[in-house]
């Protein structure tokens, strides 16, 4: 039987590129929070302590950028207070609306305590923040995972992949900002960063292997759904190829001696590849998957508007991050800590 669609509506994407931005920034913020909470236990001058400043800066910037993108993803951003007027415990999004401000407050508190060099309190706050960070990873993953109508999202591997690619991006972000902090790239513990990067990559690969295994055994319907896309559509084959290539590229880059990462150009490249792959992964998960019809044939074309709901919004968010970064770097250069006399190194 051959079926040709004669007249069907075009169903628009209900989640805009803002969603990509939110999941990108919140993924980085939550995994950086977990990393920073652990790093805070390092002795002064240890490798951990040397990575902490970069982690704190990444945390500060993304913890502010994330809620801004989330707000912009609402078509009625002015009504955000409805979330708090009508608590809805059976909706992950409502639960998230309560977890997010708590997490952001703890994250900002953590950054402040680091700046004030209040070590004991920093560690305690770090623990609370880590707990919230886990809940953020759970809620953001579950929120998308529970959408049965989209088989490609409806898999336990989705929260996992959000988390581990988020961590990859977080480490890339630390590598990126480290160069602008006091001490520059030379002060960064490259070997530690390299090892963490490889661990994150291994976790990504592990997720993929589990997905392929459970999918082949018929336990995960998202797998055949993805296979069908790869078979039918060249764009999807292309994104598969891109994912594999960027994974291999990162592995090759991180496998090289840590000293290489000290080079300004090389480390910039590695950082951008790590950040870029996590961002593109989210773009595919949100924008490309929304182009897969729930009922109809073919694909819906998403043409990105150039304004606030599209390109301008994306660039604007990166601009906001840059502005925050400049401000933080400026402050840290002048006042490395609130009490310079007590500062570590």
């Amino acid at each position: 039987m051959q079926i040709v669609e004669l007249l069907t509506p075009d169903y628009e994407a209900a989640w805009l590129p803002w969603a990509v931005q939110y999941f990108f920034f919140i993924g980085i913020a939550a995994t950086t929070a977990l990393t920073a909470a652990a790093l805070a236990f390092g002795k002064p001058g240890s490798l951990s302590a040397r990575l902490l400043p970069a982690a704190v800066v990444v945390l500060l910037v993304t913890a502010i950028a994330a809620p801004v993108s989330l707000l912009a993803d609402l078509h009625q951003p002015g009504r955000f207070w409805h979330f708090y007027a009508h608590f809805t415990p059976w909706s992950w999004m409502s639960i998230g609306a309560y977890l997010l401000p708590l997490f952001v407050m703890l994250a900002l508190g953590f950054c402040l305590l680091w700046w004030l060099r209040r070590e004991r309190l920093l560690r305690l706050t770090g623990l609370a923040m880590a707990l919230l960070a886990v809940s953020i990873l759970v809620y953001t993953g579950a929120e998308v995972m529970v959408v049965r109508a989209r088989p490609l999202w409806n898999t336990l591997l989705l929260p996992w992949n959000f988390a581990v690619t988020g961590w990859l991006a977080a480490l890339g972000a630390m590598l990126l900002v480290g160069r602008w902090l006091p001490g520059g790239l030379g002060a960064m513990p490259m070997e530690l960063l390299r090892r963490l990067g490889i661990s994150a990559l291994v976790l990504v690969v592990l997720g993929v292997l589990v997905w392929v295994a459970t999918g082949s055994l018929g336990l995960d319907p998202s797998f055949p759904a993805a296979l069908r896309l790869f078979e039918d559509f060249p764009v999807w084959r292309l994104s598969l190829l891109g994912a594999v290539l960027s994974g291999v590229l990162m592995l090759v880059m991180l496998a090289r001696p840590a000293a290489r990462l000290g080079g300004a150009g090389y480390s910039l490249l590695v950082a951008l590849v790590m950040l870029g792959s996590a961002w593109v992964f989210r773009w595919v998960v949100f924008m490309s998957v929304q182009g897969v019809p729930k009922y109809g044939a073919g694909l819906y074309l998403y043409s990105m508007p150039l304004g606030g709901d599209g390109l301008l919004g994306i660039l604007g968010m990166f601009g906001l991050c840059l502005a925050l970064l400049v401000a933080v770097v400026f402050v840290l250069e002048r006042f490395p800590s609130f009490n310079p006399a007590r500062a570590g190194h």
């Binding site: 628009e12 993803d73 609402l74």
Partner: protein, 254 residues
């Protein structure tokens, strides 16, 4: 129907449990349980037209694809140009290479599901179901998050470009309440759409559904949404997903 007097879900208790679970979550495993327990359960329904459970029966053999329903719905409910609460999808079907092609007209609208996945996801309870089965959106409360649009397996919802809130078919509840038929039913040239009370065994829809028991199909039964828009004459190939060639699309412009 069986679900109309459903007791309130275990939502609140479930949340507490889940949050405790979250704090202990070192792995993502508790997630699967949480997603199926309290979180995601249907909230209690709100009062509707007493004692009724509305449903619609669409007899595809009688649909001529004239789009009178599409037009009258748009006139009645005034969605922005290019956005539709109901529309008739049209397909050309060729059984064997040398057989003549047939035209399939498939009217689509909200199914007013008995287990509507669009309802529990709404973070502000702007989307709700009434005891008479009708699923509605309170567009004064809706924050336009688009979560319900994602959750509906039937593409029945959209973000209205003018109100920037979720929009969908209401079974013309404002007309039903006044004793009128929905605009699409009223204007249907072939008499393909029948709406009525499924709780009343004597209603026209109940009698017709009885008479055609074995030919009745719903869309995507595998989604376990229990749709309350029923079709007579829906080919098997159209039940789940259309595996065919994409054609012209009506594109909504901002």
């Amino acid at each position: 129907m069986s679900k109309s007097d459903e007791t309130p879900s275990t939502g609140r208790r479930g949340l507490l449990k889940d949050l405790l679970g979250l704090s202990a979550a070192a792995t993502l495993l508790p997630l699967a349980g949480a997603a199926q327990a309290g979180i995601g359960d249907q909230p209690p329904r709100r009062p509707g037209i007493e004692g009724k459970r509305y449903g619609m029966l669409v007899d595809l053999r009688k649909c001529i694809g004239c789009q009178a329903c599409t037009v009258s719905c748009s006139v009645e409910n005034l969605p922005p140009i290019g956005q539709f609460r109901t529309t008739v999808l049209q397909y050309e079907v060729t059984e064997t290479p040398d057989a003549p092609s047939a035209l399939i007209n498939l009217p689509r609208l909200c199914n007013h599901c008995d287990e509507p996945p669009c309802v529990p996801v709404c973070p502000v309870q702007a989307t709700f179901q009434r005891t008479d089965g009708i699923v509605l959106v309170d567009n004064e409360r809706c924050v336009g998050c688009g979560y319900c649009v994602q959750a509906c397996p039937y593409d029945a919802r959209f973000i209205n470009h003018e109100t920037q809130t979720a929009d969908k078919c209401t079974f013309c509840e404002h007309r039903l309440e006044a004793g009128l038929l929905p605009a699409c039913v009223e204007s249907c040239v072939g008499g393909a759409r029948v709406i009525g009370d499924l709780n009343d065994p004597q209603s026209e829809i109940s009698r017709r559904m009885d008479a055609h028991k074995d030919e009745i199909r719903v869309l995507k039964p595998g989604m376990n949404t229990d749709p309350h828009v029923y079709y007579i004459g829906l080919p098997e190939a159209f039940v789940n997903e259309v595996d065919g060639q994409a054609g012209i699309r009506l594109i909504a412009k901002h």
